[in-house]
Amino acid sequence: MTQAAQVHHPTTKDYIRIAVVLGVLTAFEIALFYVEGAVGEDMPGWVFPLALISLSAIKFVMVVAYFMHLRYEKPMLSRVFSIGAVLALSLFLIVLAISGRIAISG
């Protein structure tokens, strides 16, 4: 048996647990949307967007790590995947900063 064969992959029950967590996180996101509609004016503008982006980031990482098995793959694949993600995020931030949709202090 190779070293890779000794790595523990999730079982069917693990996958179902992960899907339940993903479902609960989605429910939280939707609840936050409605809570913002009710009390959003009393809160700083960044609170709800930050909370929603954090929840979606957790879901994103869970799907990539467990459903796409990146956690169990060779590190090279993580680097390949991360390059695209980092470039896209950089493009996103640079274009939004240039277009004035996000503020750069200083």
């Binding site: 069917t12 989605t26 459903f67």
Partner: protein, 211 residues
């Protein structure tokens, strides 16, 4: 048992690969190619999301209508949940194949394709409603950016459904089910499908929930 079976599947595919496919990096070239493709897709969707955010909320003059006025959050939430659960059925199809359970593989592949069709049908319904209410592709740049982003995602889902149905068809036609070589195809289609799901995770929050 499942963990060993997973690796048996990989090794079985790898044995075949040593004759037909190179893997000088230690990873099957087709799998590496798929990860490179998915990585490049980040830039594709990153550009479309950025484009949408640039125009979202801009004033295009009196009488202009905007996508945000038409969003049906409960409906889109259900669609999002359906797509999220399709990732579960996809990974269950892959796990079933790793166990050598061809019947369950067929069932979960079909379930994934069906959930994908439900999602695309929902998107078609949403687009139809929006157009009937006056929000057209050419209404303003915000509307164009919205249709471009969600439309291209929908096209990706349709491509995924076609690939899934193709695998399911092969699995049904062959009495012995999918071979280890085709097992790698299930893994590659699975990677594509999960990627489409994670892009929707971002779109759902950035486009629909953060208003």
């Amino acid at each position: 048992m499942t963990d060993i079976a997973h690796d048996d599947l990989d090794e079985a595919a790898g044995e075949h690969d040593s004759h037909g496919h190179h893997e000088s990096t230690g990873v099957d070239n087709r799998k590496l190619g798929m990860w490179f493709f998915l990585s490049s897709e980040f830039l594709f969707f990153g550009t479309l999301i950025t484009n949408y955010l640039i125009f979202k909320g801009r004033d295009f003059g009196p009488g202009s209508i905007y996508p945000v006025e038409f969003y049906d959050i409960p409906f889109t939430s259900i669609s999002s949940f359906v797509l999220l659960m399709s990732s579960l059925t996809m990974v269950l199809a892959h796990a079933a194949l790793a166990r050598g359970d061809q019947n369950q593989t067929r069932t979960w592949l079909a379930a994934t394709a069906m959930l994908g069709l439900v999602f695309v049908s929902g998107q078609f319904f949403e687009f139809t409603e929006f157009v009937l209410e006056g929000l057209k592709l050419s209404s303003n740049p915000a509307a164009s950016a919205f249709y471009l982003l969600t439309g291209f995602h929908g096209i990706h889902v349709v491509v995924g459904v076609v690939l899934l149905l193709s695998l399911w068809g092969k699995s049904v036609r062959q009495p012995e089910g999918l071979s280890p070589e085709q097992g790698l195809n299930v893994e590659l289609v699975g990677l594509y499908w999960h990627f489409v799901d994670i892009i929707w995770i971002v779109i759902f929050v950035v486009v629909y929930l953060i208003q």
